[in-house]
């Protein structure tokens, strides 16, 4: 079996008394697309900073490309592409210049950097924006430019921290398409997200993280199979009636989850379950049958929803 490109054993990061990361163990294989899914403050970004060799661990073992980030930070970072949560493009420079300058940090010859900059502008669909000011770009374009910048050194691993947070749906889909292409090219991707649809689209395998610990690990399909039912029936009876109806619904499906605005019934067959409920004389204002998602997995594992 080939060596993992990232290997963490009991990884810990403490800030004072607070353990932001509290014993994570995982491996990422070359070419794999690996996700860290969890709510804000779960320790995802801290983990990413440790993988990115810019934050030292408090405990545990961490090996990136067979090297220890504490000792070989610059060497490891020369093989990474990093797309941080907050854009840190250089607003004093133009779009193409951002790529040129960044490529030089890796010690790449000017000619190589210039060629790659043009290729990457095309990849990021920014060919005609090369001379534009960074501030003139839309949020989605800035993200794409940041990804292009992260690819300037042809990295072994691309780290993406919340790549589509704050983008509108169209911009997100363009970005997913780009990232999917990278995945197809065999690039190793590590991404954090609190969007389950993003994780389902992009991750081969993921860990669900909460309070700095791993709650579950597997492929999106595996996790859904293991922790949720095939379908979910969403019922809305109105905020004031949800609690009361929930008691009547006890025993429906595999499991019932009461949220402030709606009731979720986990079941293999949503339509059949809805029929049974209506036959029992309960009439929801709205009902919706959908496939289980990672959101449901998360809810099951932590009792909380991902976005609060």
């Amino acid at each position: 079996m080939p060596q993992p490109v990232i290997s963490a054993v009991d990884l810990v990061k403490r800030y004072g008394d607070v353990a932001a990361v509290d014993g994570l163990s995982f491996e990422v294989a070359a070419g794999e697309s690996f996700g860290l899914l969890g709510p804000n403050g779960a320790g995802k970004s801290t983990t990413m900073r440790m993988i990115g060799a810019v934050s030292t661990r408090t405990g545990g073992e961490l090996s990136i490309l067979g090297l220890d980030p504490d000792r070989n930070g610059p060497d490891i970072r020369s093989q990474l592409g990093v797309v941080p949560q907050a854009d840190n493009l250089d607003t004093e420079l133009r779009v193409r210049e951002n790529l040129l300058v960044y490529g030089r940090y890796f010690g790449l010859p000017r000619k190589v950097v210039a060629e790659r900059a043009d290729e990457l502008l095309a990849f990021a669909q920014l060919e005609d924006k090369g001379d534009a000011k960074v501030d003139a770009l839309s949020g989605g374009m800035k993200r794409r430019l940041t990804i292009a910048r992260g690819l300037i050194n042809d990295p072994r691993i691309l780290l993406l921290d919340e790549p589509t947070t704050g983008l509108d749906p169209q911009a997100r889909h363009i970005l997913w398409d780009r990232l999917f292409r990278l995945k197809e090219q065999g690039k190793t991707l590590v991404l954090t997200t609190h969007y389950m649809d993003e994780a389902e689209q992009l991750c081969d395998r993921l860990i669900v993280v909460d309070h700095g610990r791993i709650m579950a690990e597997g492929t999106p399909a595996e996790l859904i199979r293991r922790y949720s039912s095939r379908e979910v029936l969403e019922l809305r009876f109105g905020s004031d009636r949800n609690e009361e109806v929930a008691r009547a619904l006890e025993g429906s499906g595999d499991r019932v989850e009461v949220l402030p605005d709606r009731i979720l019934v986990y079941t293999a067959d949503g339509e059949a379950e809805l029929e049974r409920i209506v036959d029992a004389g309960l009439h929801p204002r709205t009902s919706l049958v959908r496939r289980s998602s990672l959101e449901d997995v998360f809810l099951r594992l932590t009792g909380r929803s991902l976005i609060e």
Binding site: M1, Q3, P4, V5, S7, V9, D10, S25, F26, E27, G52, V54, S55, T56, G60, E61, S63, L65, G66, L67, D68, N72, G73, P74, D75, I76, R77, S78, Q79, L80, V82, P84, A86, N88, L89, D90, T91, E92, L93, E97, V101, Y102, R104, Y105, F106, G107, N153, R156, I207, I214, E217
Partner: protein, 297 residues
């Protein structure tokens, strides 16, 4: 040492930790090879970035670079000098006011330029447009970021000061053949104050106008009370200490020795050099420490 078998993937084959130590894998070898150049030249790449940014305000640099010496040398050295030379009898020392004040203006210009380059760009890089964390996400180390800033500012200062010195020659303000040393001295003066300012700017997390305060309460008084326009001995005794802690006073006095053989005991010249170098190195080292702490939290 934790048991590797406690991995979440159970049976996954873990590499022998000894292999990691020796970096014997292809991945590791490739990383070490790629990291070699940035490890060696990282600071120069950072300087390259700074030069590119400076180019975006290149016009300002050129206009001030040529305009400032012209205006100041004319106003102080020619205009004001007509009053001073008549009244203070500086001719007694064998030089006119122009010659006396020119080295001070030179060092003062270096100080101002260093103040500009080491204040807002530093705050910008850490906070407003965190390009430093971008560099650090790549192979550049925090220390290299600081070194790169220092390199770029030394170059900018030397260029600014050299132009200034050219005007001094044109104005006939440099009687001594060792005058060119003033270029080195002024650059050092700028760095002595500048690196300390960089260190301070690196500590600012919430900008509440501290840098504007530095300019008004430190840079301006330094410019006035560092034996620049009149000898330190003309100041009341309780203000003379400003000169002794002022890099501008040490630089100016030294530059005077270089440009017109200002009479000063040799031990004092040595003190000037020691103070300036100590300040520059201390500020530099301090900035590196802060950078390491701030970027690798």
């Amino acid at each position: 040492m934790s048991d590797p078998r406690r991995s979440s993937r159970g049976g996954a084959a873990y590499r022998d930790p000894v292999v990691t130590e020796n970096a014997a894998t292809d991945d590791a070898r490739q990383a070490l090879a790629a990291g070699a150049r940035p490890r060696r030249f990282g600071a120069w790449y950072v300087a390259e970035h700074r030069f590119r940014v400076m180019r975006s305000y290149g016009q300002t640099i050129l206009v001030t670079g040529f305009g400032e010496p012209l205006i100041y040398l004319y106003a102080m050295g020619v205009g004001l000098a007509t009053l001073v030379d008549q009244n203070l009898g500086l001719e007694a020392q064998g030089v006119g006011y122009l010659v006396y004040v020119a080295p001070a203006l030179l060092c003062s210009a270096a100080l101002t330029t260093a103040t500009i380059e080491f204040s807002y760009p530093v705050l910008l890089g850490y906070k407003w447009n965190p390009t430093f964390s971008g560099m650090h996400a790549g192979p550049i180390s925090p220390g290299q970021i600081v070194d790169g800033l220092v390199i770029s500012v030394v170059v900018r200062l030397a260029a600014t000061v050299a132009i200034y010195f050219g005007f001094m020659l044109l104005f006939g303000a440099v009687p001594s053949p060792t005058g060119w040393l003033a270029i080195v001295i002024a650059t050092l003066t700028g760095m002595a104050f500048g690196t300390l300012l960089m260190a301070y700017a690196s500590t600012i997390r919430d900008d509440t106008g501290q840098l504007a305060m530095v300019e008004r309460l430190i840079v301006l008084p330094l410019t006035l009370f560092s034996g620049t326009f009149f000898p330190l001995s003309e100041l009341p005794w309780f203000l003379q200490w400003i000169g002794w802690i002022s890099p501008l006073w040490h630089g100016t006095e030294l530059a005077r020795v270089a440009t017109f053989g200002y009479p000063e005991p040799i031990w004092l010249s040595v003190v000037h050099v020691v103070v300036l170098v100590t300040m520059a190195v201390a500020g530099w080292a301090w900035s590196r420490r802060i950078a390491a702490r701030r970027l690798a939290s």
